[in-house]
Symmetry: C2
Subunit: 209 residues, 2 copies
Amino acid sequence: MPKLRTAIVDDHPIVIEGLKALLSNEANLKIVGGFYSGEALLSYLDTHALDLILLDITLPDMNGIELCQKIKAVSLTTSILILSNHTERSIIMQAIQNGASGYLLKNSSIDELRYCIAEAVKGQICYSKEITEIISRPTRNELQGPPRLTRREKEILSLIAAGKTSQVIGQELFLSPLTVDTHRKNLIQKFGVKNVAELIMVAVQQQIL
Amino acid sequence: MPKLRTAIVDDHPIVIEGLKALLSNEANLKIVGGFYSGEALLSYLDTHALDLILLDITLPDMNGIELCQKIKAVSLTTSILILSNHTERSIIMQAIQNGASGYLLKNSSIDELRYCIAEAVKGQICYSKEITEIISRPTRNELQGPPRLTRREKEILSLIAAGKTSQVIGQELFLSPLTVDTHRKNLIQKFGVKNVAELIMVAVQQQIL
DNA sequence: CAAAAAATACCTAATAATGGGTAGATAAAA
DNA sequence: TTTTATCTACCCATTATTAGGTATTTTTTG
């Protein structure tokens, strides 16, 4: 079996060199090129065939999703693995939609990378552990409408938005700060967000604030 | 000199009793009534004269600012002191605009209260220490337009709004989390807000997010 | 009235944010 | 070519938030 002709596209030279080093011992593949931009890769593809491309999302001239499309338009048999630090669900989904065979975070283990490469060339789609988790937990935003808030929760939400801490809110509402913490926790859970910054953002978008 | 006829309006019985106890030893005033609602006070005022009213902002039937107006409409010579936990500059200003002679937080010392009562009946306007501080530090929002953000700051602001921590942002932008912390700090300072919750809120209002 | 929902309050422990700096390296403008 | 702005990164110390609970008391509602 011939070795997989593999290219790496990343705007960070260090990442390219790192990957080259990591993959140099792999028996079944050969790194035939490292590119800093989408255009550089595309012009290489004009004259050479590739079996596998490891692709970053952030590139100087175009984003990785766009590049995915263009690669697939030129060479449908080339497998693409995204290697990125972006954890947004929407980006991951878009990448797959546009022809990527997998998505890994840059801190993935070499074993995960090896496994995903194997799956990708077999035509399977493959994600690293963390990515799988992100995908299987869709934002409640994407699922339902805005959550129902109780009177107290609305009250506390707007005080949080005013920059007040649990302690201050507790004083104003004659509540224990621990109670305010509980309401804060419930708000974060109900909205399915990670912290108050996102909470405020989503609440504004859903016109609750 | 006759004692000042004084009333207390607060929806919390405990506060009323506490104030009564605190002020019972004052030689120059006499608590003639405690009321849980604005209406209760107003109907008392129909038949009795008052020299001083200690007023809360949060009341069951109307807010303290509204009540201020109504009191002054009926009895211009009555001095009003606001005793509240609300620290919003706008509320303080509105209270004064509507006839209050002073504003204290509920955790003010008895000395501050005594002093402000004396000033109020002399016709002076008087604030407790913390209130003075709030007033003399107007929100930058009230002063100027939206702050100028650098490219990096805008970038980090939107990542914060997406609920990401400094660590995650650092990973995505290939920066030290400490650097992200610095940008975060600068954002909070530029907007003149207290924390990210308020930061996001204000940024949305000023259409930066 | 019984059951469900909401509001209250606590626990522990880990992680994150905030406030007060300082400071060097680049990059842009005067 | 200086000055100015931006970006970078760190120090220290304190406070706040978050995540994982549990549990009692009020209110509301079927």
